[in-house]
């Protein structure tokens, strides 16, 4: 087995682990760090469920190897809430029924976290473009767009993200 030692910051906490080279970042987060909020749908970069943030950019964690994030900063869905308090984006998803089964939700939240930083006052068309790489099979996208729009308004009045 080909293994490498890595040191990575996830949600502000530093982890040092030895991982097999072929282990994807998604599997590393779920199996080695027990951060199972990152979901795996297709495992080939189509569904967007495993989207996380690496060094500030939204990426598919099924298309990265854990060995590639040595020394990097990773943010997952577990890093969004403050204890039991949902952040404004999560709160907007709850309020606008932006999730049903919830499987795709972590990916949407991480995609939108990045997007709202870059585009704090988006149109619905811009939101639809931004989430075009995330698939939802339950609620449809209407409520997700409404939640994203509401989150943008809420973030504009409360300066935390």
């Amino acid at each position: 087995m080909i293994e490498r030692a890595i040191r990575v910051t996830v949600n502000g906490r530093v982890y040092e682990r030895t991982v097999e080279a072929r282990k994807t970042l998604a599997d590393f987060l779920r199996d080695d760090l027990e951060l199972t909020g990152t979901h795996l749908g297709c495992e080939h970069g189509v569904c967007g469920a495993c989207t996380i943030i690496v060094d500030g950019a939204a990426v598919r964690s099924c298309l990265l190897f854990a060995v590639q994030v040595h020394g990097r900063d990773v943010q997952t869905v577990e890093g969004l809430a403050d204890g039991e308090t949902l952040n404004p984006l999560q709160e907007a998803f709850r309020e606008h029924h932006g999730l049903q089964c919830g499987f795709c939700t972590p990916g949407f939240l991480m995609t939108l976290t990045c997007f709202l930083r870059e585009c704090p006052d988006p149109s619905d068309a811009q939101i639809r473009e931004a989430i075009s790489g995330n698939l939802c099979r339950c609620t449809g996208y209407q409520n997700i767009v409404a939640a994203a729009s509401a989150a943008a308004r809420s973030l504009a009045t409360s300066p935390r993200s």
Partner: protein, 292 residues
């Protein structure tokens, strides 16, 4: 599915990477952004003994203007090209094509060199480089080669690059002020590979007469299809709606695309004609300074 076992090599310099490729040749696969390679690994369609990861090498990314050219390092992320003011100014055709590649999460990792080296027959970047008559710069432990797009793309997922060679940059001629361009595609869903895509550039003189025109299509054959004869027919006259219509019909009639699960050959030919007409019309408007 999960990737098969491989030995992971992460060189920190170009020389080290080239030495590894020289040593392992066909047993090695190059990992750039991984947005095409990792799915192939996960499906176990490729089983390389070694992965040579380029992400730890400094200096392989970057966008610079150089003597009438735009030079883009192979490891430049597609998202960096998409958001670059220099690209919008010097090469608007490339800027217009970028957002049509996959989705933002893909473009945050996907690289320019990786897309060119993968040579998917429905990808956007190869068509842009072919339309602009760009050059792909290759390095190996033995030296440096510069290939025109038409020499570089040789077949379905196949380039002229030897297993020991690495794409290190692409050089595109900067677009002149009197040149208009357009990139249009039709895909099943936004972000999917194109069923058909068209890259067009058109240059007008002071009198509105076309002095140069180039067309390249993606999704209609194993490599980008450069419609040189069709494009040449516009040169020397004004790009009137009728002239553009004639060129578009010619393009549609001369293509021989394959049928597949996504679209029939006839449908692709039809769409290629329509998109060529729209792309040339838009390029001509932009060359005249309208609707930039």
């Amino acid at each position: 599915m999960k990737p098969p076992r491989f030995d992971y090599l992460a060189p920190t310099s170009l020389d080290e990477a080239l030495a590894l490729l020289g040593q392992h040749g066909e047993e090695a696969k190059i990992l750039a952004g991984g947005q095409s390679l990792v799915p192939l690994l996960n499906f176990r369609l490729v089983r390389p003994a070694y992965l040579v990861d380029l992400n730890e090498i400094r200096g392989l990314d970057g966008i610079r203007a150089d003597d009438g050219h735009l030079v883009i390092g192979a490891m430049t992320r597609q998202r960096a090209v998409e958001t670059s003011a220099l690209v919008r100014e010097r090469c608007p055709l490339l800027a217009e094509a970028m957002p049509q590649i996959g989705h933002v999460q893909i473009r945050n990792r996907g690289t320019v060199g990786g897309s060119l080296a993968h040579a998917d027959p429905a990808a956007e970047l190869p068509a842009v480089v072919a339309a602009l008559d760009g050059e792909v710069v290759l390095r190996s432990a033995r030296g440096r080669r510069v290939l025109k797009a038409e020499q570089f793309f040789v077949g379905y997922l196949t380039t002229a690059a030897d297993p020991t060679e690495l794409v290190i940059e692409v050089k595109l001629p900067a677009t002149s002020r009197r040149t208009g361009s357009a990139f249009l595609e039709v895909s099943r869903r936004h972000g999917d590979f194109a069923l058909v895509g068209v890259a067009a550039t058109l240059t007008l003189d002071e009198a509105g007469v076309c002095t140069a025109c180039a067309l390249a299509l993606t999704g209609v054959g194993p490599t980008p299809a450069v419609a040189r004869d069709a494009a040449r027919a516009l040169v020397g006259g004004k790009p009137s709606p009728q002239a553009i219509e004639d060129v578009s019909r010619h393009v549609s009639q001369t293509l021989r695309p394959d049928s597949d699960l996504h679209a029939s050959s006839d449908y692709r030919k039809d769409v290629a004609g329509v998109l060529t007409r729209r792309a040339l019309t838009r390029a001509a408007e932009r060359a005249r300074g309208e609707g930039r």
